[in-house]
């Protein structure tokens, strides 16, 4: 535990050093990677550990983003409190949904959460206090003056996002290694056996859904910060798909893998952009190539390495031994 804390602090320090040495765009992408890391951790916890599929984590991110923005704008609270509210509100929302979800198996849960992912942005369009299509501003403010003139806005985002991501990963990894993590794995691999050993699987599933939603909500608030805005267009079905893809690429049950998954998710639009420009820079190509790459990666990985890239290596290792 203490060792792990030291490791995370070391990681944070390395991130700070890197943040000082790369250009502005990379710093911004660093903030995005941190955001995706939190979002993917929420899927790993839910799908990889407790065995529930949610296609609606993008919608949960919207809940977090909107609660953070509404708190900051209407209550005039400090920024940290907005993030706390994002976690609290999305956790409550998740607990409510989880109560319904815990009774659902595979396809029912997937469909219900898909409905949520399609519908929630539509709902945001309909109500005036949620700002409609243009959304509402979420401005965390300028970096403190004592960091100096050189310290840019993006670097400030990067600092906040990385700090939150490290904190979230630290807490999540402890939860996953605790009694709860073990119980979730037991439910996932054999729910009947787990129940016979005295596990209340319904309650544990709701707990997983709640924590996962809290993480997703936090990621949503971080995302709102990096684009200074919450709008229905930011939390689309494509976002939910991208998250599932990232989690599958990372290996659904590996927490350290989420960093890799997040890297890929941020890299794909970059790569697509380069390719689209090389192949003529057509407008359709620019708009749809990232989606094409994401889907092809998702399909290939689900067919060939459904348990993550680590799995093949591990099984090969076992064969040799």
């Amino acid at each position: 535990m203490r060792k792990k804390l030291a490791l995370f602090i070391l990681l944070g320090w390395v991130l700070l050093l890197i943040g000082d040495r790369v250009d502005e765009l990379r710093v911004y992408q660093g903030a995005q990677i941190a955001m995706y890391t939190i979002a993917l951790a929420s899927i790993v916890l839910l799908t990889g550990y407790s065995g529930q599929v949610s296609l609606g984590n993008g919608a949960m991110m919207a809940v977090g983003g909107y609660s953070a923005a509404l708190t900051l704008n209407n209550l005039g609270s400090p920024v940290w409190f907005a993030f706390v509210m994002a976690v609290v509100v999305s956790a409550l929302f998740g607990a409510f949904l989880g109560a319904a979800a815990a009774r659902l198996s595979g396809p029912y849960l997937a469909g219900t959460t898909l409905a949520l992912a399609v519908g929630l942005p539509e709902i945001a369009n309909q109500f005036a206090f949620l700002g409609g299509v243009p959304g509402i501003l979420f401005d965390v403010g300028f970096p403190p003056a004592r960091f100096g003139e050189e310290f840019t806005q993006y670097k400030w985002f990067f600092w906040i996002a990385s700090f939150i991501a490290l904190l979230a990963l630290f807490i999540t990894s402890n939860i996953l290694q605790s009694r709860y993590g073990r119980t979730w794995r037991a439910i996932r691999s054999h729910s009947l056996a787990a129940e016979l050993s005295g596990v209340n699987s319904g309650r544990m599933k709701i707990l997983a859904f709640t924590i996962s939603s809290a993480l997703a909500g936090l990621a949503g608030a971080v995302m709102a910060m990096t684009i200074s805005l919450v709008a229905p267009g930011a939390y689309t079905l494509s976002l939910s798909f991208a998250l599932v893809t990232g989690a599958v690429l990372a290996g659904v049950s590996s927490l350290p893998g989420v960093v890799f998954g997040a890297l890929i998710l941020v890299a794909i639009p970059e790569v697509a952009d380069v390719l689209a420009t090389r192949w003529g820079g057509d407008e359709n190509l620019n708009n749809y190539l990232p989606g094409l790459i994401v889907s092809v990666l998702l399909i290939l990985s689900v067919i060939f390495t459904p348990n993550g890239p680590g799995e093949k290596l591990k099984s090969r290792h076992h064969k040799k031994a």
Binding site: G48, I123, Q126, V248
Partner: protein, 298 residues
């Protein structure tokens, strides 16, 4: 009274389109145990093909025929080249439960991107085969139009054809048998793999019709059928995911209920209403309205 009646009729027309989508989902679910989220993509691609044909020839019905054919081919292709490969790599481990669902999602994304690359994101419209102006009785004009009537009739005809296929032909018998008890069906000499592919083809064709009919009074874009998929899924759940009759009844109920919300409360609550119906059905009657006390399978 008049508003009540016209809401009911329009609901019937909306619901009958949902019925096709939910029927497509149920057909695939019965045979493959996968909720095929790519159905929205398959239907969309078929509709784009129908759009091209009906715009060039200016005959809606020719477009519809092509959409059905494209949908059927696409459905069979997805099963043959995709689902079979997926199940051959039958996975174990943490991803086993989620792999098929995620695979159909990937397919939806893939079809959406391909459509986007070819046709772009701008809204297309298909010329409606019938007037979209409401019928006029003497002085009053009601919102229920010739197109609505045509939609109901078309869906009704397709449902009758499907009912005949499923109840009166050998193909229908083997489709039902391999969905109900695949192993026993195989022992009885039914080529279940091929039957399954045919089931996917029928589902694909039905989805193509749904896409064309929705688009006749609406626009077409790479995202325009997502809501149809969601409402089709909700309807299928109301019917219990297993029963074809149940899915049609569920869709009609859902369509009428949502149109009532739309006309009497407002647009903003339509989706919330649909979602509430889904949650309530799942909590109160998870086996659907057609369940006869049989436990839900996996």
């Amino acid at each position: 009274m008049q508003k009540l009646l016209e809401t009911f009729l329009i609901g019937l027309s909306t619901g009958s389109i949902y019925a096709l989508m939910s029927l497509a989902l149920v057909l695939v679910w019965r045979s493959t145990r996968v909720v095929n989220f790519a159905q929205a993509g398959q239907a969309m691609l078929s509709t784009y093909i129908g759009f091209e044909i009906s715009t060039r020839t200016e005959i809606f019905w020719l477009g519809l025929l092509f959409a059905i054919a494209a949908g059927a081919l696409l459905g069979a292709g997805v099963d043959y080249f995709f689902m079979r490969v997926l199940f051959k790599h039958a996975v174990s481990g943490p991803a086993a439960v989620v792999a098929p669902v995620i695979a159909t999602l990937g397919l939806l994304g893939l079809i959406r991107s391909i459509v986007g690359l070819i046709w772009g994101g701008e809204f297309k419209t298909i010329k409606s085969p019938a007037s979209t102006d409401g019928f006029t009785f003497g002085e009053t004009t009601i919102p229920f139009s010739a197109l609505n009537l045509l939609i109901i009739v078309t869906v009704f005809v397709i449902l009758i054809i499907l009912a005949i296929i499923f109840q009166r032909t050998n193909l229908g018998l083997s489709l039902r048998a391999s969905a109900y008890a695949p192993e026993i069906a195989q022992l009885a000499g039914i080529r279940t793999a091929r039957t399954r592919t045919i089931g996917w083809a029928i589902a694909g064709g039905v989805g193509g019709v749904a896409g064309m009919l929705v688009t006749a009074s609406n626009f077409l874009s790479p995202y325009s059928l997502d809501l149809l998929l969601v409402f089709g899924f909700i309807a299928a759940v109301i019917g219990g995911l297993e029963s074809m009759v149940g899915s049609v009844v569920g869709a009609l109920i859902l369509g009428i209920a949502l149109t009532f919300i739309l006309n009497y409360i407002g647009t903003s609550l339509v989706f919330i209403g649909g979602f509430a119906v889904l949650i309530v059905v799942l909590l109160v009657k998870p086996d659907g309205i057609m369940a006869r006390g049989r436990a839900r399978r996996a």
